[in-house]
Symmetry: C2
Subunit: 241 residues, 2 copies
C-alpha cells in the first residue's frame, strides 16, 4: 500500500539484482517517459543509454529498403533496451520504437560499462537476457515463415498483453500489419474473425482480449516456446521457492 508510483524494481532485470549491486546502480538511474510513437533509436544509431522499462512496450524493428518491415522482438518491463552497449557493438541494424507508452529508468553508457566490467550479477543477468532475446528473435523468424497470420496475431496479442499486464492493447491494425510484416487488410480480415468468435473486441485502435484461453488455443507453439525460454533463463523471483 506504500508502493511508490515509480520504482526501478518494477523492471525485471533490476528486480533480479541482489541488494548490493542494485544499490550501486540506484544513484545513476534516471526516470524517463516513453511516449507513444517515440523512436528511441534508428538503425545504426550510436546508443547512449541502456533503458530498463517499467511499463509500456518497445518493439525492435527491422526495416527493408522497399519499405516493408518486421518486428523481430518485443520488450516490456521484463527486459532492457540498448544491449549493444554491453555487447560491444554500440549500435544495431534494428530500430527501436515505442508501441505502447510507458516509463523507463535509464543508465548511461559509461556507468553501465563500468558495472558490466565488474563481472557481477548485472553481467550475468544481462547476458542471460540477451540469450532470451536471441531465442525470441529466432522463434519469430521461424514463425513468420511457417505459421498463418491468425496464429501470429494471437501470439502478438498474448505477448503484448503479458508485457502490459493488461487485456487492453492500444494499437491500430495498420501498425500491427507493420510489425507482423503483412498488409493492414490482412490484419483486418484476421482480427474480424477473432472478433466474431468473441476472442477479442476492438474499436478504433484499442484491442481488448475477451477470451484468453480461447486465444491460447489458436496460437502457435511459438508463444509457449518463447515464454518457457524466458522463464528458464530469467525465472521470476517467486518461482521454484
Amino acid at each position: 500500500m506504500s508502493k511508490p508510483l515509480h520504482d526501478p524494481r518494477q523492471n525485471g532485470i533490476l528486480a533480479a539484482l541482489p541488494e548490493p549491486d542494485y544499490q550501486r546502480l540506484l544513484p545513476n538511474l534516471e526516470l524517463i517517459e516513453m511516449p507513444l510513437g517515440w523512436t528511441i533509436s534508428e538503425s545504426g544509431d550510436h546508443v547512449k543509454y541502456l533503458l530498463f522499462p517499467t511499463s509500456g512496450i518497445v518493439s525492435l524493428i527491422y526495416d527493408l529498403e522497399d519499405g516493408s518491415s518486421s518486428e523481430i522482438a518485443i520488450v516490456g518491463n521484463e527486459g532492457m533496451i540498448g544491449i549493444s552497449i554491453y555487447m560491444g557493438g554500440e549500435s544495431m541494424p534494428s530500430s527501436t520504437e515505442i508501441q505502447c507508452p510507458g516509463y523507463a529508468y535509464r543508465l548511461s553508457r559509461k556507468i553501465l560499462k563500468q558495472e558490466f566490467a565488474l563481472g557481477g550479477h548485472l553481467q550475468r543477468i544481462a547476458l542471460l537476457y540477451t540469450q532470451a532475446l536471441i531465442s525470441q528473435t529466432s522463434q519469430t523468424a521461424v514463425c513468420n515463415q511457417h505459421h498463418v497470420l491468425e496464429q501470429q496475431l494471437c501470439r502478438w496479442l498474448l505477448m503484448s498483453a503479458d508485457r502490459l499486464h493488461d487485456n487492453n492493447v492500444v494499437i491500430t491494425q495498420a501498425l500491427i500489419g507493420k510489425l507482423l510484416g503483412v498488409r493492414r487488410e490482412s490484419v483486418n480480415d484476421t482480427a474480424r474473425k477473432l472478433q466474431s468468435d468473441e476472442l477479442i473486441s476492438y474499436v478504433r485502435g484499442r484491442i481488448t482480449i475477451l477470451d484468453r484461453p480461447g486465444l491460447e488455443k489458436r496460437v502457435c507453439e511459438c508463444y509457449a516456446a518463447v515464454t518457457a525460454e524466458y522463464e528458464r533463463l530469467l525465472p521470476p523471483p517467486h518461482a521454484g521457492k
Copy 2:
C-alpha cells in the same frame, strides 16, 4: 609455405586474439572432425564444448512441431558454436548441424568459463561475435518473410561460399529446402532458373557458382547487410591498417 595443415588460427575468433590470450588457450584446444550430417546438439541439449571451426559450415536450425524448419544462422570459420555456455543459458532451443564437413578446435565448458570470467579479449570478441549472430538471425527473419525464394537462394549460396572459401558447395536441393523453409520442388524450380541463366551449375548434390557478380545482382540487400555488420563488428586482421 610452412603453414601446418591444421592451425587454430584458421578460426577467425582465435586469430583475433592477442598472443598472450591465445597462448593461454592453446594447450586446451583439441582438434576434432566435423563429419557431414553430424548433429552437434539438439534443441535443449546441455552444451559441453565451445567449437571454433576452421573449415566447413555449421547451421543453426529451428525445428517446428509440424516437421517444418528454418535455418536461423550459418556459421563458418569466422565464428563459434556453443555460445550458450558463456551467455549462461547452457542450452538453446535451436539444433546445430554440420552442413558441409570440416574441422574445429574445441574448448571445454570449464576452461571457457574461466577465460571468459577474466574479462579479457576473448570475452570482448565473443560478445561482439554474439551481436553479429543476432544481426544475422534478425536479418534472416525479415528476409524469410519478405524476399522471394530466388533472392534467398542467392543469399544462401553466397554466404555459404564465403564461409567455405570455395565456389563449390556440396549440398542437395532437398537440404536447401529444409534450411530455407521451403519445399524441395521450389528450390529445384529456382535453381534451374539460375542454372539456365548460367549463374550456377549443379549435379547431384554439388552446386558450383559460375558467375558470382551475377548472383550478387540478384541477391537481396540482406546479404550485404549481414556481411557489412560482420565486418564492422569483427574486422578481419588486415582491414583498416
